[in-house]
Symmetry: C2
């Protein structure tokens, strides 16, 4: 089978490519070709026996989406996008990349016509939701985003559902929890501190905490994110009906509970490396983020994640630090 | 003040233009200029003392939106759009007119920059909703449309909210009930029969009923639709917060109850002109339309409609038939 991954050079994209190349199969089918697309040049995975085509381009540029799907990939992982902070700071770029890029991809698929109908796994976000919230957000809660990024994600969810309904593709949108602990350097996502306050102390470095310890978030590890994507690519989506996007499982904790987990795993010395530097603007952004979800719909479909925050820290130590705290 | 009306040659658009021209004012402010835009040439209203600029063009055509807002209208009534049946039959046209046209309009407003920030009243639709439904749809029910038209309307609602949040415009989206009784010739809306089975018999003509009498719908008269638009253009929208689109009041009746009202108003001879011709496809479309709404949010803001279906028939007789059944 042939797989297209957009955003293949991103954090989740790289992990997904690595995993697909290592497995050499998705579900019961062997992978013969990978097409990797990103604004930055995506690297080729080691140890993969099939064909790899790397494209450094933006889906919103005319012709790029057509090129990306020219080989009629069986599965499309559509991860490409500008992150929340950048989409808010650069209004035009956010709409161009996140909305126009997605629409160009779906249109390129549509122009192939039947019987071509790929599975499309789209990464949406917790930013799909906007306050006011009930204590627990259920799967039938409305999506009223409060950011450009969230707006673009929900619009793409709507397009995904409509193109699916019309038989153009077989789509599922995964509203990802906050991915924690993000490895590597911080990106422009405003939510970066949720990872920074763990990753940096675990590496013996200081990290800034711009919000109060009562801020609550819904988290899953990068390893869980990859497992969501692989699972979404292989299951029967008929049970979704017309509602093609859903929240993924995660762990609900406050920042204070994150810090307590860090203390249990890495000790007080690590915790002392967190430097509170309250930022009213960032705090306000996350004071209105929903922190608890009822994800029974995803769980029924077989999606699962960590069930305790300590396990999320352990995944980071195993996958990024070679199993030991330096 | 200067008012722009897109879709000015449509059924609601013509009634709105007529009313604004007759009143010569909107709220407390006199109207000095009307810009009327439609794909069909919009006619000039009689008896209006101000300037009228008529533009026959499609908002999605490059440059048209810029021209439409060049005079910095204080209020924009954005009614233009391809109706449900046509948006489903012509996928590309539906997205181009309903989505790209709206986005072009909002972008043209954005490019003026602050302090320009017009009130934008956008007509959304009951098609924003998709099954499964609870018995009564409340204002926090999710929008999962099941048609291209509904998808395009919800996407425009999301854009309206985001452009409002960013201070580009001051927007409100009115999810209109089925407008009944539509005067004039049937259009391509799949919902046409709800009006046809009343309008035609009242004029002594036969009408086809393609669905079962148990199909339920949420109705308001054209006169109420115009009153919603005028009210939306003048009230303080701060109470809406970030949720800028809402369902308008209406009357919930089954087709059987519509027919019973016709019998009370016009007698058995009129009812005998309704010819049942069951169409499984149309019946299926409307078997999953939500028929009951809790519109307390709109009512609190001062929107109101008819409270009984007989009144909806009476409005048609008064406004379209000169007060008498021919």
């Amino acid at each position: 089978m042939h797989i297209l991954i957009t955003g293949a050079a991103g954090m989740i994209g790289r992990k997904l490519v690595h995993r697909l190349a290592a497995d050499g199969a998705l579900g019961a089918r062997g992978i013969t070709a990978l097409t990797l697309l990103d604004a930055l040049p995506p690297g080729s995975p080691d140890g993969f026996g099939g064909t790899v085509t790397s494209v450094a381009a933006d889906l919103a540029t005319p012709g790029v989406a057509e090129t990306a799907v020219a080989g009629r990939p069986d599965v499309v992982f559509h991860l490409a996008g500008v992150v929340s902070g950048e989409a808010e700071a650069d209004f035009e770029k956010g709409y161009r990349v996140n909305l126009d890029g997605t629409r160009a991809l779906f249109e390129a698929i549509r122009r192939h016509g039947a019987p071509y109908r790929p599975r499309v796994v789209f990464t949406s976000s917790i930013a799909a939701y906007g306050s006011p919230f009930p204590d627990v957000i259920a799967d039938d809660f409305l999506t009223t985003p409060r950011t450009c990024y969230g707006t673009q994600k929900v619009i793409c969810e709507l397009l995904l559902a409509d193109y699916t309904r019309r038989g153009v593709l077989d789509g599922i949108g995964l509203r990802l929890p906050n991915i924690c602990i993000r490895p590597g350097a911080p990106n422009k996502a405003a939510s970066g501190f949720f990872s920074n306050i763990l990753r940096e102390p675990l590496a013996g470095r200081e990290a800034v905490l711009p919000v109060g310890e009562d801020v609550r978030m819904w988290h899953a590890s990068p390893r869980s994110a990859v497992s969501f994507l692989l699972h979404a690519a292989t299951i029967d989506l008929t049970p979704l009906g017309g509602r093609r996007s859903l929240m993924m499982p995660g762990v609900s904790v406050t920042v204070g509970e994150q810090i307590a987990a860090l203390r249990r795993v890495a000790g007080e010395a690590a915790v002392r490396l967190i430097r509170p530097a309250f930022d009213p603007m960032i705090n306000a952004m996350f004071a209105t983020i929903p922190g608890r979800f009822d994800t029974r719909r995803a769980v029924t479909l077989g999606f699962h994640a960590e069930t305790a925050f300590d396990a999320i820290i352990e995944v980071h130590i195993q996958d990024e630090l070679g199993g030991v705290i330096p």
